[in-house]
Protein backbone atom coordinates (compact mmCIF):
# COMPACT_ATOMS: atom_id res chain seq x y z
CA UNK A 1 0.00 0.00 0.00
CA UNK A 2 1.40 3.33 -0.95
CA UNK A 3 0.11 6.81 -0.44
CA UNK A 4 0.01 9.48 -3.09
CA UNK A 5 -1.12 13.11 -3.03
CA UNK A 6 -4.79 12.40 -2.91
CA UNK A 7 -4.96 9.30 -0.79
CA UNK A 8 -4.00 5.71 -0.81
CA UNK A 9 -3.17 3.85 -3.92
CA UNK A 10 -4.15 0.25 -3.92
CA UNK A 11 -2.37 -2.39 -5.84
CA UNK A 12 -2.79 -5.84 -7.28
CA UNK A 13 0.22 -8.04 -6.81
CA UNK A 14 0.64 -10.83 -9.33
CA UNK A 15 2.36 -13.92 -8.04
CA UNK A 16 1.22 -16.91 -10.02
CA UNK A 17 0.85 -17.79 -13.68
CA UNK A 18 -2.93 -17.23 -13.76
CA UNK A 19 -2.99 -14.11 -11.64
CA UNK A 20 -5.03 -11.87 -13.90
CA UNK A 21 -7.63 -14.55 -14.49
CA UNK A 22 -7.86 -15.43 -10.86
CA UNK A 23 -8.21 -11.84 -9.99
CA UNK A 24 -11.75 -12.15 -11.32
CA UNK A 25 -12.45 -14.86 -8.82
CA UNK A 26 -10.79 -12.91 -6.07
CA UNK A 27 -12.78 -9.86 -6.91
CA UNK A 28 -15.97 -11.86 -6.72
CA UNK A 29 -14.92 -13.14 -3.35
CA UNK A 30 -13.76 -9.86 -1.99
CA UNK A 31 -16.71 -7.71 -2.85
CA UNK A 32 -20.25 -8.22 -1.82
CA UNK A 33 -23.70 -7.59 -3.18
CA UNK A 34 -25.50 -4.32 -3.69
CA UNK A 35 -25.41 -1.95 -0.76
CA UNK A 36 -27.92 0.87 -1.06
CA UNK A 37 -26.18 4.05 -2.11
CA UNK A 38 -22.93 2.25 -2.63
CA UNK A 39 -20.64 3.82 -5.12
CA UNK A 40 -18.12 1.55 -6.78
CA UNK A 41 -15.34 3.29 -8.56
CA UNK A 42 -14.63 1.25 -11.63
CA UNK A 43 -11.03 0.34 -11.21
CA UNK A 44 -10.87 -2.93 -13.06
CA UNK A 45 -10.63 -1.55 -16.51
CA UNK A 46 -7.17 -2.58 -17.41
CA UNK A 47 -3.94 -0.68 -17.42
CA UNK A 48 -5.39 2.66 -18.43
CA UNK A 49 -6.87 3.57 -15.04
CA UNK A 50 -6.59 7.30 -14.41
CA UNK A 51 -5.69 7.67 -10.75
CA UNK A 52 -6.56 11.35 -10.70
CA UNK A 53 -9.98 10.55 -12.09
CA UNK A 54 -10.48 7.86 -9.47
CA UNK A 55 -9.48 10.02 -6.54
CA UNK A 56 -11.47 13.00 -7.75
CA UNK A 57 -14.53 10.76 -7.95
CA UNK A 58 -13.84 9.50 -4.46
CA UNK A 59 -13.45 13.01 -3.07
CA UNK A 60 -16.67 14.12 -4.76
CA UNK A 61 -18.63 11.21 -3.32
CA UNK A 62 -17.16 11.87 0.12
CA UNK A 63 -18.26 15.50 -0.06
CA UNK A 64 -21.73 14.44 -1.13
CA UNK A 65 -22.04 12.20 1.92
CA UNK A 66 -20.81 15.02 4.14
CA UNK A 67 -23.19 17.55 2.65
CA UNK A 68 -26.21 15.28 3.01
CA UNK A 69 -25.27 14.56 6.62
CA UNK A 70 -24.76 18.23 7.44
CA UNK A 71 -28.13 19.10 5.92
CA UNK A 72 -29.84 16.46 8.05
CA UNK A 73 -28.05 17.69 11.17
CA UNK A 74 -28.99 21.30 10.53
CA UNK A 75 -32.65 20.33 10.05
CA UNK A 76 -32.51 18.47 13.37
CA UNK A 77 -31.00 21.47 15.15
CA UNK A 78 -33.65 23.72 13.65
CA UNK A 79 -36.75 21.71 14.46
CA UNK A 80 -36.04 19.36 17.37
CA UNK A 81 -35.83 20.10 21.08
CA UNK A 82 -32.51 21.28 22.48
CA UNK A 83 -30.00 18.53 22.21
CA UNK A 84 -29.05 18.68 25.89
CA UNK A 85 -32.63 17.88 26.85
CA UNK A 86 -31.72 14.39 27.97
CA UNK A 87 -31.07 12.71 31.30
CA UNK A 88 -27.51 11.79 30.42
CA UNK A 89 -25.48 13.11 27.50
CA UNK A 90 -22.26 11.53 26.30
CA UNK A 91 -19.65 13.25 24.19
CA UNK A 92 -17.08 10.94 22.61
CA UNK A 93 -14.08 12.51 20.96
CA UNK A 94 -12.92 11.63 17.49
CA UNK A 95 -9.66 10.53 19.12
CA UNK A 96 -11.51 7.99 21.29
CA UNK A 97 -13.34 6.60 18.28
CA UNK A 98 -10.02 6.15 16.56
CA UNK A 99 -8.56 4.43 19.61
CA UNK A 100 -11.50 2.00 19.51
CA UNK A 101 -11.29 1.55 15.74
CA UNK A 102 -7.55 0.95 15.88
CA UNK A 103 -8.20 -2.24 17.84
CA UNK A 104 -8.96 -3.70 14.43
CA UNK A 105 -5.68 -2.58 12.92
CA UNK A 106 -3.53 -5.42 11.62
CA UNK A 107 -6.24 -8.01 12.17
CA UNK A 108 -6.90 -10.74 9.67
CA UNK A 109 -10.18 -12.37 8.79
CA UNK A 110 -11.58 -14.66 6.16
CA UNK A 111 -14.15 -14.17 3.43
CA UNK A 112 -14.06 -17.85 2.57
CA UNK A 113 -11.71 -20.76 3.10
CA UNK A 114 -9.34 -19.50 0.43
CA UNK A 115 -9.55 -15.77 0.80
CA UNK A 116 -8.29 -13.85 3.78
CA UNK A 117 -8.33 -10.15 4.32
CA UNK A 118 -6.16 -7.95 6.43
CA UNK A 119 -7.28 -4.65 7.91
CA UNK A 120 -4.23 -2.48 7.75
CA UNK A 121 -5.81 0.54 9.39
CA UNK A 122 -9.12 2.20 10.14
CA UNK A 123 -9.27 5.93 10.57
CA UNK A 124 -12.44 7.73 11.58
CA UNK A 125 -13.21 11.36 10.88
CA UNK A 126 -16.24 13.03 12.41
CA UNK A 127 -17.85 15.73 10.30
CA UNK A 128 -20.97 17.69 11.04
CA UNK A 129 -23.69 15.12 10.39
CA UNK A 130 -21.55 12.21 9.28
CA UNK A 131 -18.85 9.88 10.51
CA UNK A 132 -16.63 8.41 7.85
CA UNK A 133 -14.20 5.60 8.42
CA UNK A 134 -11.56 4.89 5.84
CA UNK A 135 -10.33 1.33 5.89
CA UNK A 136 -7.08 0.43 4.25
CA UNK A 137 -7.18 -3.29 3.69
CA UNK A 138 -5.88 -6.08 1.56
CA UNK A 139 -7.43 -9.33 0.42
CA UNK A 140 -5.36 -12.37 -0.42
CA UNK A 141 -6.39 -15.45 -2.31
CA UNK A 142 -4.34 -18.34 -0.99
CA UNK A 143 -5.12 -20.72 -3.82
CA UNK A 144 -3.93 -18.42 -6.55
CA UNK A 145 -1.51 -16.37 -4.48
CA UNK A 146 -3.00 -13.02 -5.45
CA UNK A 147 -3.16 -9.87 -3.32
CA UNK A 148 -5.64 -7.05 -3.78
CA UNK A 149 -5.14 -3.85 -1.89
CA UNK A 150 -8.06 -1.52 -1.57
CA UNK A 151 -9.30 1.51 0.22
CA UNK A 152 -12.84 1.54 1.50
CA UNK A 153 -14.77 4.54 2.77
CA UNK A 154 -17.56 3.63 5.15
CA UNK A 155 -20.31 5.51 6.87
CA UNK A 156 -20.40 4.71 10.56
CA UNK A 157 -23.88 3.78 11.71
CA UNK A 158 -24.25 3.82 15.48
CA UNK A 159 -26.44 1.26 17.21
CA UNK A 160 -27.30 -0.03 20.64
CA UNK A 161 -28.15 -3.68 20.94
CA UNK A 162 -28.33 -5.72 24.12
CA UNK A 163 -26.93 -2.82 26.07
CA UNK A 164 -23.87 -2.54 23.86
CA UNK A 165 -23.03 0.55 21.87
CA UNK A 166 -21.23 0.01 18.61
CA UNK A 167 -20.75 1.35 15.15
CA UNK A 168 -21.25 -0.74 12.05
CA UNK A 169 -19.31 0.00 8.90
CA UNK A 170 -21.37 0.61 5.79
CA UNK A 171 -19.14 0.97 2.74
CA UNK A 172 -20.00 3.65 0.22
CA UNK A 173 -16.73 4.03 -1.64
CA UNK A 174 -14.41 1.25 -2.66
CA UNK A 175 -11.25 2.25 -4.41
CA UNK A 176 -9.12 -0.67 -5.47
CA UNK A 177 -6.81 1.21 -7.79
CA UNK A 178 -5.54 -1.79 -9.63
CA UNK A 179 -3.95 -2.17 -12.96
CA UNK A 180 -4.85 -5.29 -14.82
CA UNK A 181 -4.46 -6.45 -18.33
CA UNK A 182 -5.58 -9.16 -20.71
CA UNK A 183 -8.83 -10.89 -20.10
CA UNK A 184 -9.66 -8.65 -17.13
CA UNK A 185 -10.70 -5.95 -19.57
CA UNK A 186 -13.13 -8.22 -21.35
CA UNK A 187 -14.86 -9.07 -18.09
CA UNK A 188 -15.04 -5.48 -16.97
CA UNK A 189 -18.80 -5.13 -17.00
CA UNK A 190 -19.48 -8.42 -15.29
CA UNK A 191 -16.91 -7.76 -12.61
CA UNK A 192 -18.31 -4.34 -11.93
CA UNK A 193 -21.79 -5.74 -11.44
CA UNK A 194 -20.53 -8.55 -9.29
CA UNK A 195 -18.64 -6.10 -7.15
CA UNK A 196 -21.79 -4.09 -6.66
CA UNK A 197 -23.90 -7.13 -6.03
CA UNK A 198 -21.70 -8.64 -3.35
CA UNK A 199 -20.43 -5.63 -1.51
CA UNK A 200 -22.70 -6.25 1.47
CA UNK A 201 -20.96 -9.56 2.06
CA UNK A 202 -17.80 -7.70 2.79
CA UNK A 203 -19.71 -5.32 4.99
CA UNK A 204 -21.11 -8.29 6.92
CA UNK A 205 -17.64 -9.65 7.46
CA UNK A 206 -16.31 -6.50 9.00
CA UNK A 207 -16.67 -6.55 12.77
CA UNK A 208 -18.43 -3.63 14.40
CA UNK A 209 -16.44 -1.07 16.32
CA UNK A 210 -17.52 -1.42 19.89
CA UNK A 211 -17.53 1.36 22.46
CA UNK A 212 -16.90 0.76 26.13
CA UNK A 213 -20.20 2.16 27.23
CA UNK A 214 -22.58 0.27 29.44
CA UNK A 215 -26.18 1.33 29.25
CA UNK A 216 -27.29 -1.28 31.75
CA UNK A 217 -25.50 -0.29 34.88
CA UNK A 218 -25.47 -0.84 38.58
CA UNK A 219 -23.50 0.33 41.53
CA UNK A 220 -23.40 -0.62 45.20
CA UNK A 221 -24.56 1.59 48.01
CA UNK A 222 -22.79 0.63 51.21
CA UNK A 223 -24.76 -0.17 54.29
CA UNK A 224 -24.12 1.61 57.56
CA UNK A 225 -24.61 1.17 61.28
CA UNK A 226 -24.88 3.86 63.89
CA UNK A 227 -24.99 3.08 67.61
CA UNK A 228 -27.04 5.43 69.73
CA UNK A 229 -26.36 5.25 73.44
CA UNK A 230 -27.86 8.41 74.79
CA UNK A 231 -31.40 8.54 76.06
CA UNK A 232 -32.46 5.48 74.11
CA UNK A 233 -30.15 2.59 73.33
CA UNK A 234 -30.64 1.64 69.75
CA UNK A 235 -28.74 0.58 66.67
CA UNK A 236 -29.67 2.16 63.35
CA UNK A 237 -28.69 0.22 60.27
CA UNK A 238 -29.15 0.79 56.59
CA UNK A 239 -28.75 -2.36 54.52
CA UNK A 240 -26.25 -2.55 51.67
CA UNK A 241 -28.04 -2.42 48.36
CA UNK A 242 -27.32 -2.24 44.69
CA UNK A 243 -28.84 0.42 42.56
CA UNK A 244 -29.60 -0.79 39.08
CA UNK A 245 -30.63 1.28 36.11
CA UNK A 246 -30.81 1.11 32.37
CA UNK A 247 -30.72 3.85 29.81
CA UNK A 248 -32.66 4.22 26.59
CA UNK A 249 -31.16 5.87 23.56
CA UNK A 250 -32.74 9.19 22.67
CA UNK A 251 -30.56 10.18 19.75
CA UNK A 252 -27.09 10.10 18.27
CA UNK A 253 -25.74 13.20 16.59
CA UNK A 254 -22.40 13.68 14.95
CA UNK A 255 -20.56 16.96 15.18
CA UNK A 256 -17.19 17.95 13.88
CA UNK A 257 -14.70 16.15 16.10
CA UNK A 258 -17.23 14.69 18.51
CA UNK A 259 -20.02 12.16 18.75
CA UNK A 260 -23.03 13.11 20.86
CA UNK A 261 -25.24 10.43 22.40
CA UNK A 262 -28.32 11.42 24.38
CA UNK A 263 -29.87 8.91 26.78
CA UNK A 264 -32.82 8.87 29.12
CA UNK A 265 -33.27 6.75 32.22
CA UNK A 266 -35.45 3.83 31.24
CA UNK A 267 -35.61 1.66 34.34
CA UNK A 268 -34.28 1.96 37.85
CA UNK A 269 -34.50 -0.26 40.85
CA UNK A 270 -32.78 -1.64 43.88
CA UNK A 271 -31.57 -5.14 44.58
CA UNK A 272 -30.30 -6.43 47.91
Amino acid sequence: MTQNNSGYQCSLRHRGPFDSRFFILLTILVFGSSAPGCFILRPFAGADVDLDQLHAARDAKMLLVRRDGAERLLRRLDVGDTIVNADISFYFSEALLNKAASQLDSTTGWLDSLTSYNIKSIRVVLFNGSAIATIAMAAYNHQYDVDVGLLMDCILAFKIEEGKFFATLEPFNVVPTVTATGMISSFEGIIQDIVTMRLSTLSDNLPPIQFPVDFNNQFPVQGSMVRVRSGINLDITTPPQTLKYSLALKEVLIFKGKLFVAMNVKKAGVIR
Partner: protein
Protein backbone atom coordinates in the same frame (compact mmCIF):
# COMPACT_ATOMS: atom_id res chain seq x y z
CA UNK B 1 -9.36 -25.36 -17.10
CA UNK B 2 -8.88 -22.46 -14.73
CA UNK B 3 -9.94 -19.93 -17.37
CA UNK B 4 -13.07 -21.90 -18.07
CA UNK B 5 -13.93 -22.14 -14.38
CA UNK B 6 -13.28 -18.48 -13.91
CA UNK B 7 -15.52 -17.62 -16.82
CA UNK B 8 -18.24 -19.90 -15.50
CA UNK B 9 -18.13 -18.30 -12.07
CA UNK B 10 -18.31 -14.88 -13.60
CA UNK B 11 -21.29 -15.76 -15.75
CA UNK B 12 -23.05 -17.45 -12.85
CA UNK B 13 -22.53 -14.47 -10.65
CA UNK B 14 -23.60 -12.20 -13.43
CA UNK B 15 -26.86 -14.10 -13.78
CA UNK B 16 -27.65 -13.20 -10.16
CA UNK B 17 -27.75 -9.55 -10.98
CA UNK B 18 -31.43 -9.51 -11.84
CA UNK B 19 -33.11 -7.20 -9.39
CA UNK B 20 -29.88 -5.93 -7.89
CA UNK B 21 -28.74 -2.35 -7.99
CA UNK B 22 -26.39 -1.49 -10.75
CA UNK B 23 -22.99 0.00 -10.14
CA UNK B 24 -22.15 3.53 -11.01
CA UNK B 25 -19.74 4.44 -13.78
CA UNK B 26 -16.85 6.46 -12.63
CA UNK B 27 -17.45 10.11 -13.47
CA UNK B 28 -14.85 11.93 -15.47
CA UNK B 29 -12.27 13.93 -13.57
CA UNK B 30 -13.89 17.16 -14.75
CA UNK B 31 -17.33 16.01 -13.64
CA UNK B 32 -15.95 15.20 -10.20
CA UNK B 33 -14.07 18.49 -9.92
CA UNK B 34 -17.23 20.37 -10.90
CA UNK B 35 -19.16 18.51 -8.22
CA UNK B 36 -16.44 19.25 -5.68
CA UNK B 37 -16.43 22.96 -6.47
CA UNK B 38 -20.22 23.00 -6.17
CA UNK B 39 -20.49 21.01 -2.93
CA UNK B 40 -17.54 22.48 -1.01
CA UNK B 41 -19.08 25.94 -0.44
CA UNK B 42 -22.38 24.28 0.48
CA UNK B 43 -20.60 22.28 3.17
CA UNK B 44 -18.74 25.37 4.38
CA UNK B 45 -22.03 27.21 4.76
CA UNK B 46 -23.71 24.31 6.54
CA UNK B 47 -20.70 23.86 8.84
CA UNK B 48 -20.79 27.53 9.70
CA UNK B 49 -24.50 27.38 10.61
CA UNK B 50 -24.00 24.27 12.69
CA UNK B 51 -20.97 25.68 14.48
CA UNK B 52 -22.97 28.78 15.40
CA UNK B 53 -25.59 26.61 17.04
CA UNK B 54 -23.23 24.24 18.81
CA UNK B 55 -20.23 26.28 19.87
CA UNK B 56 -21.10 25.79 23.55
CA UNK B 57 -20.97 22.02 23.37
CA UNK B 58 -18.20 20.71 25.61
CA UNK B 59 -15.03 19.19 24.25
CA UNK B 60 -11.39 18.62 25.04
CA UNK B 61 -11.53 15.12 26.55
CA UNK B 62 -12.09 11.65 25.11
CA UNK B 63 -15.25 11.28 27.14
CA UNK B 64 -17.55 13.84 28.67
CA UNK B 65 -20.80 12.92 30.36
CA UNK B 66 -23.42 15.34 31.56
CA UNK B 67 -25.90 13.97 34.07
CA UNK B 68 -28.76 16.27 34.84
CA UNK B 69 -29.97 16.63 38.42
CA UNK B 70 -33.44 15.71 37.22
CA UNK B 71 -32.08 12.36 36.03
CA UNK B 72 -30.49 11.63 39.39
CA UNK B 73 -33.70 12.59 41.13
CA UNK B 74 -35.66 10.32 38.82
CA UNK B 75 -33.46 7.47 40.02
CA UNK B 76 -33.77 8.50 43.65
CA UNK B 77 -37.51 8.92 43.38
CA UNK B 78 -37.93 5.39 42.14
CA UNK B 79 -35.86 4.14 45.02
CA UNK B 80 -37.69 6.07 47.72
CA UNK B 81 -41.06 5.08 46.27
CA UNK B 82 -40.41 1.38 46.41
CA UNK B 83 -41.89 -0.77 49.17
CA UNK B 84 -38.61 -2.00 50.66
CA UNK B 85 -37.71 -0.65 54.06
CA UNK B 86 -34.67 1.58 54.04
CA UNK B 87 -33.71 2.01 57.68
CA UNK B 88 -33.77 -0.57 60.44
CA UNK B 89 -33.95 0.31 64.14
CA UNK B 90 -32.98 -2.23 66.81
CA UNK B 91 -34.01 -1.22 70.31
CA UNK B 92 -31.76 -2.44 73.07
CA UNK B 93 -32.61 -2.45 76.74
CA UNK B 94 -32.80 1.08 78.02
CA UNK B 95 -33.15 1.17 81.78
CA UNK B 96 -34.72 3.43 82.54
CA UNK B 97 -36.17 5.37 79.69
CA UNK B 98 -37.87 7.55 82.18
CA UNK B 99 -38.13 7.65 85.95
CA UNK B 100 -39.51 9.81 88.71
CA UNK B 101 -39.14 9.50 92.46
CA UNK B 102 -42.25 9.98 94.51
CA UNK B 103 -43.15 9.97 98.14
CA UNK B 104 -46.63 9.30 99.32
CA UNK B 105 -47.50 9.26 103.02
CA UNK B 106 -43.82 9.00 103.84
CA UNK B 107 -43.29 6.06 101.56
CA UNK B 108 -40.66 6.59 98.91
CA UNK B 109 -41.05 4.81 95.59
CA UNK B 110 -40.00 5.20 92.02
CA UNK B 111 -42.12 5.21 88.91
CA UNK B 112 -40.17 4.13 85.88
CA UNK B 113 -40.43 2.86 82.35
CA UNK B 114 -37.78 0.67 80.69
CA UNK B 115 -37.50 -0.17 77.04
CA UNK B 116 -36.97 -3.90 76.83
CA UNK B 117 -36.69 -4.62 73.15
CA UNK B 118 -38.12 -3.81 69.81
CA UNK B 119 -37.50 -3.51 66.11
CA UNK B 120 -38.72 -1.06 63.55
CA UNK B 121 -38.22 -0.71 59.80
CA UNK B 122 -39.07 2.57 58.21
CA UNK B 123 -39.01 4.07 54.76
CA UNK B 124 -36.99 6.84 53.38
CA UNK B 125 -39.72 9.36 52.75
CA UNK B 126 -37.74 11.75 50.59
CA UNK B 127 -34.22 11.93 49.23
CA UNK B 128 -33.69 14.47 46.47
CA UNK B 129 -30.83 16.52 45.17
CA UNK B 130 -31.93 20.11 45.49
CA UNK B 131 -28.99 22.08 44.17
CA UNK B 132 -25.92 21.46 42.05
CA UNK B 133 -23.34 24.15 42.60
CA UNK B 134 -19.60 24.44 42.93
CA UNK B 135 -18.31 20.97 43.60
CA UNK B 136 -21.15 20.20 45.95
CA UNK B 137 -24.59 18.75 45.72
CA UNK B 138 -27.21 19.75 48.24
CA UNK B 139 -29.77 17.14 49.15
CA UNK B 140 -32.93 17.03 51.21
CA UNK B 141 -33.53 13.93 53.27
CA UNK B 142 -36.72 13.11 55.12
CA UNK B 143 -37.31 10.01 57.21
CA UNK B 144 -40.46 9.25 59.12
CA UNK B 145 -41.87 6.16 60.75
CA UNK B 146 -44.01 4.90 63.58
CA UNK B 147 -44.02 1.56 65.36
CA UNK B 148 -44.33 -0.13 68.70
CA UNK B 149 -41.73 -1.43 71.12
CA UNK B 150 -41.85 -3.54 74.25
CA UNK B 151 -41.53 -1.71 77.53
CA UNK B 152 -42.04 -2.45 81.19
CA UNK B 153 -42.05 -0.51 84.39
CA UNK B 154 -43.66 0.18 87.71
CA UNK B 155 -46.18 2.75 88.70
CA UNK B 156 -46.90 3.29 92.36
CA UNK B 157 -45.11 0.04 93.00
CA UNK B 158 -47.25 -1.95 90.56
CA UNK B 159 -45.35 -3.60 87.73
CA UNK B 160 -46.69 -3.69 84.16
CA UNK B 161 -45.63 -4.32 80.60
CA UNK B 162 -46.81 -2.22 77.72
CA UNK B 163 -46.26 -1.70 74.00
CA UNK B 164 -45.80 2.01 73.61
CA UNK B 165 -45.80 3.77 70.27
CA UNK B 166 -42.56 5.30 69.05
CA UNK B 167 -42.33 7.87 66.31
CA UNK B 168 -39.20 8.99 64.45
CA UNK B 169 -38.85 12.00 62.21
CA UNK B 170 -35.85 13.49 60.45
CA UNK B 171 -35.93 16.31 57.92
CA UNK B 172 -32.58 17.84 57.06
CA UNK B 173 -30.55 19.46 54.33
CA UNK B 174 -27.29 17.67 53.76
CA UNK B 175 -24.41 18.16 51.37
CA UNK B 176 -22.26 15.88 49.23
CA UNK B 177 -18.79 16.70 47.95
CA UNK B 178 -18.26 15.48 44.38
CA UNK B 179 -14.95 14.06 43.22
CA UNK B 180 -13.73 12.01 40.26
CA UNK B 181 -11.99 8.73 40.90
CA UNK B 182 -10.78 7.18 37.63
CA UNK B 183 -13.98 5.98 36.00
CA UNK B 184 -16.14 6.73 39.01
CA UNK B 185 -17.90 9.79 40.30
CA UNK B 186 -17.73 9.80 44.08
CA UNK B 187 -20.35 11.45 46.23
CA UNK B 188 -18.99 11.97 49.71
CA UNK B 189 -21.34 13.12 52.47
CA UNK B 190 -20.05 16.27 54.13
CA UNK B 191 -20.01 15.65 57.93
CA UNK B 192 -22.95 17.22 59.68
CA UNK B 193 -24.91 16.49 62.84
CA UNK B 194 -28.56 15.88 62.06
CA UNK B 195 -31.37 15.46 64.56
CA UNK B 196 -33.58 12.41 64.72
CA UNK B 197 -36.69 13.56 66.53
CA UNK B 198 -37.98 10.75 68.72
CA UNK B 199 -41.27 10.63 70.56
CA UNK B 200 -42.38 7.74 72.77
CA UNK B 201 -45.93 7.71 74.00
CA UNK B 202 -46.17 5.47 77.07
CA UNK B 203 -49.28 4.89 79.08
CA UNK B 204 -48.53 2.65 82.06
CA UNK B 205 -51.41 1.96 84.44
CA UNK B 206 -52.83 5.36 83.68
CA UNK B 207 -49.46 7.06 84.02
CA UNK B 208 -48.75 8.95 80.80
CA UNK B 209 -45.10 9.50 80.15
CA UNK B 210 -44.33 12.10 77.50
CA UNK B 211 -40.89 11.22 76.21
CA UNK B 212 -39.28 13.35 73.51
CA UNK B 213 -35.65 13.47 72.50
CA UNK B 214 -33.66 14.77 69.56
CA UNK B 215 -31.03 12.16 68.90
CA UNK B 216 -27.88 13.58 67.31
CA UNK B 217 -26.59 11.57 64.36
CA UNK B 218 -23.51 12.13 62.27
CA UNK B 219 -24.73 12.01 58.67
CA UNK B 220 -21.32 10.84 57.43
CA UNK B 221 -21.79 7.72 59.58
CA UNK B 222 -25.32 7.10 58.41
CA UNK B 223 -24.65 7.63 54.69
CA UNK B 224 -21.45 6.19 53.27
CA UNK B 225 -19.67 7.56 50.19
CA UNK B 226 -21.23 6.40 46.95
CA UNK B 227 -19.19 5.61 43.84
CA UNK B 228 -21.23 5.97 40.69
CA UNK B 229 -19.71 4.46 37.56
CA UNK B 230 -19.32 6.84 34.67
CA UNK B 231 -21.28 4.41 32.45
CA UNK B 232 -18.01 3.52 30.78
CA UNK B 233 -16.71 0.07 31.46
CA UNK B 234 -13.28 -0.52 32.91
CA UNK B 235 -12.84 -3.35 30.44
CA UNK B 236 -14.32 -4.23 27.10
CA UNK B 237 -14.37 -7.24 24.85
CA UNK B 238 -13.75 -6.16 21.28
CA UNK B 239 -14.97 -8.19 18.34
CA UNK B 240 -12.24 -8.69 15.77
CA UNK B 241 -12.10 -10.88 12.66
CA UNK B 242 -11.41 -14.54 13.40
CA UNK B 243 -7.77 -15.14 12.50
CA UNK B 244 -8.45 -18.76 11.51
CA UNK B 245 -11.04 -19.76 8.94
CA UNK B 246 -13.96 -21.59 10.48
CA UNK B 247 -17.56 -21.33 11.55
CA UNK B 248 -16.87 -18.34 13.73
CA UNK B 249 -16.60 -15.13 11.76
CA UNK B 250 -15.46 -13.14 14.77
CA UNK B 251 -13.34 -13.67 17.81
CA UNK B 252 -13.03 -11.50 20.85
CA UNK B 253 -10.16 -9.81 22.63
CA UNK B 254 -10.25 -8.17 26.01
CA UNK B 255 -8.96 -4.66 26.54
CA UNK B 256 -8.65 -2.76 29.77
CA UNK B 257 -9.44 0.89 29.90
CA UNK B 258 -7.05 3.30 31.54
CA UNK B 259 -8.65 6.55 32.61
CA UNK B 260 -6.50 9.64 32.94
CA UNK B 261 -7.16 13.30 33.66
CA UNK B 262 -10.52 12.43 35.19
CA UNK B 263 -12.36 15.40 36.59
CA UNK B 264 -15.86 16.12 37.73
CA UNK B 265 -17.67 19.34 38.39
CA UNK B 266 -21.14 20.60 38.87
CA UNK B 267 -22.06 22.83 35.98
CA UNK B 268 -25.36 24.31 34.84
CA UNK B 269 -27.44 21.98 36.96
CA UNK B 270 -25.63 18.90 35.73
CA UNK B 271 -22.83 16.67 36.87
CA UNK B 272 -20.06 16.94 34.29
CA UNK B 273 -17.53 14.12 34.20
CA UNK B 274 -14.49 14.22 31.94
CA UNK B 275 -11.78 11.71 31.27
CA UNK B 276 -9.29 10.54 28.70
CA UNK B 277 -9.30 6.85 27.90
CA UNK B 278 -6.68 4.47 26.57
CA UNK B 279 -7.12 0.82 25.71
CA UNK B 280 -4.60 -1.60 27.15
CA UNK B 281 -4.07 -5.21 26.24
CA UNK B 282 -4.39 -8.03 28.75
Amino acid sequence: MNMFWCFLVSLSAGSLLIGCGSSADIPSRNESLTAISLITPQIDSLDSDIMNRTRLLPGGHDLITLTRSTAVNTLLERITNRSLKDIHFDFLATRPLWKEEKSVLGIDFMNYVDIDTGMLDIDLKKFVFTDFSGNNIDAAIEVEGTGTIKASGKYTGVPATVSPQIHFYLNEQIKFAVTADSDFIRLIPVPKIVLLKTRVTVSLLGWNVPYYKEISLQIAELIKPVSIPSAVRSEIVFPIPAAQYGDRRLEFVRRYLRFTRSTVRVHNGALEYRSNIDFEKE
